[in-house]
Subunit: 253 residues, 2 copies
């Protein structure tokens, strides 16, 4: 397939590299900032542009990977394209692209960071399309980079995105809180890394509910009181400790 | 070494299996409930007991792996032993064992669940001892099952335990919240598993602060408002969503 990327952030970068690795041709990368487009395009043998009037109109697939709130507006500038136009946002409805004839959604359920290589082969790709023909194109593209792709409508994709915020964004912030607690006491975050991996690994085969551990599920009020005392100079962490411990207790009543 | 386990829960089970695998001899397992002792002892060719007067007094190491609040009391029943007595608790001071001549702490910084096999080889073992001679015994034991062991005093071990609550217990509860959101909408938790693994994997090489993603760090108020609307029938999850999003925003000001 001939693919054009509109956007050059983390999602665009990881998808573009995966598509190139799967043998597709990334012909252009557009970004509002030419230098950003150029940085990504360089690794793909693609053309970089920041003027939409230079867009190659012969591509099979145009992937929009920009800030959610800018998608609709960009879409109106793409009217008249014959190729499929899809956005990669979990939280944005397919309707943002409704003015385009062949449109859809291509949402990889994964967390992308700049300098971290990533094998997308088991990342679920959530697909939605304006027609069966468009779905065929998106499926072909998805199956070339991942073994897991499936159709999901916009309301349910938004639920997936919400759940991902809990399982990924909030989780990473908890890692950061533990990092800052250790740092404050001159202890090394490396010590927690095997625990973090094992915690994630456990729920690959068990329901999280069944493998919950810690003082809150044991109703170990003494340990929790001592933990709160250790956080006396970190009222914000105390607040989060109480909120989450109460939630664990309530969930496991 | 000849080792006796006092306690037969998850920590005792995983440690005992690791010690047996490393060639040590587990001679006895004590538990208040004989059947519990017997269940663990059976897999170890060890004797099960629930009466402390039957304790073999020739062991090199006695490991106490029971509820935190019961450790002191059990310790007073062990007076006069010649072997090293250590507890495995992160949150309990070494002083809980102070009436015993050779005592210490042997705390594996890991999460243990019943039916999940676990390679302890990279699990940090936190050691504390009443004397240099006792530390030698604990080090020898630790190094036989893990490549990572180090001395840490009780106050700093309690900090490690507190940080582990954030990185493990609270994290698992977030997994459970995402599970329940998906379940409520008939979506499959399997879809989040690659994301969960990647989130844990990212912080093995990066500071969590640097790889934070999601609507809160982007100050994407529109997406956050829509997420809260989706949680309208789950006020407790709304509360946690707001608390953690505000904390992310504050951390990344």
């Amino acid at each position: 397939m001939k693919i054009v990327f509109l956007g050059s952030g983390n999602v665009a970068t990881h998808l573009a590299l995966a598509f190139k690795g799967a043998g597709h041709q990334i012909i252009q990368v557009w970004s509002k900032t030419k230098a950003h487009a150029a940085r990504l395009a360089a690794g793909l043998d693609a053309e970089a542009l920041n003027d939409l009037s230079d867009l190659d109109r012969s591509a099979d697939l145009y992937l929009i990977s920009i800030k959610d709130e800018a998608i609709s507006e960009l879409a109106t500038s793409l009217k008249g394209l014959h190729g499929v136009v899809a956005h990669t946002s979990g939280a944005t409805s397919i309707h943002a692209l409704q003015d385009l004839s062949a449109h859809g959604v291509f949402y990889p359920l994964q967390t992308f960071s700049k300098d971290k290589a990533l094998d997308l082969s088991n990342t679920p790709i959530c697909l939605e399309a304006s027609s069966a023909k468009v779905m065929d194109v998106l499926k072909l593209a998805a199956q070339s980079i991942s073994e897991v792709s499936f159709e999901v409508d916009s309301p349910r994709r938004k639920i997936l995105h919400l759940a991902a915020v809990f399982a990924c964004n909030f989780t990473n912030h908890l890692y950061q809180m533990s990092y800052s607690i250790l740092e404050q006491h001159g202890l090394d975050f490396n010590l927690l890394k095997p625990l973090i991996l094992e915690t994630a690994s456990k729920v690959q085969n068990e329901v999280p509910f069944k493998v919950q551990t810690g003082p809150a599920i044991r109703q170990d009020e003494g340990t929790m009181a001592r933990h709160l005392a250790l956080l006396d100079d970190r009222p914000e962490l105390q607040d989060i400790y109480i909120t989450l411990s109460n939630s664990i207790k309530k969930t496991h009543l």
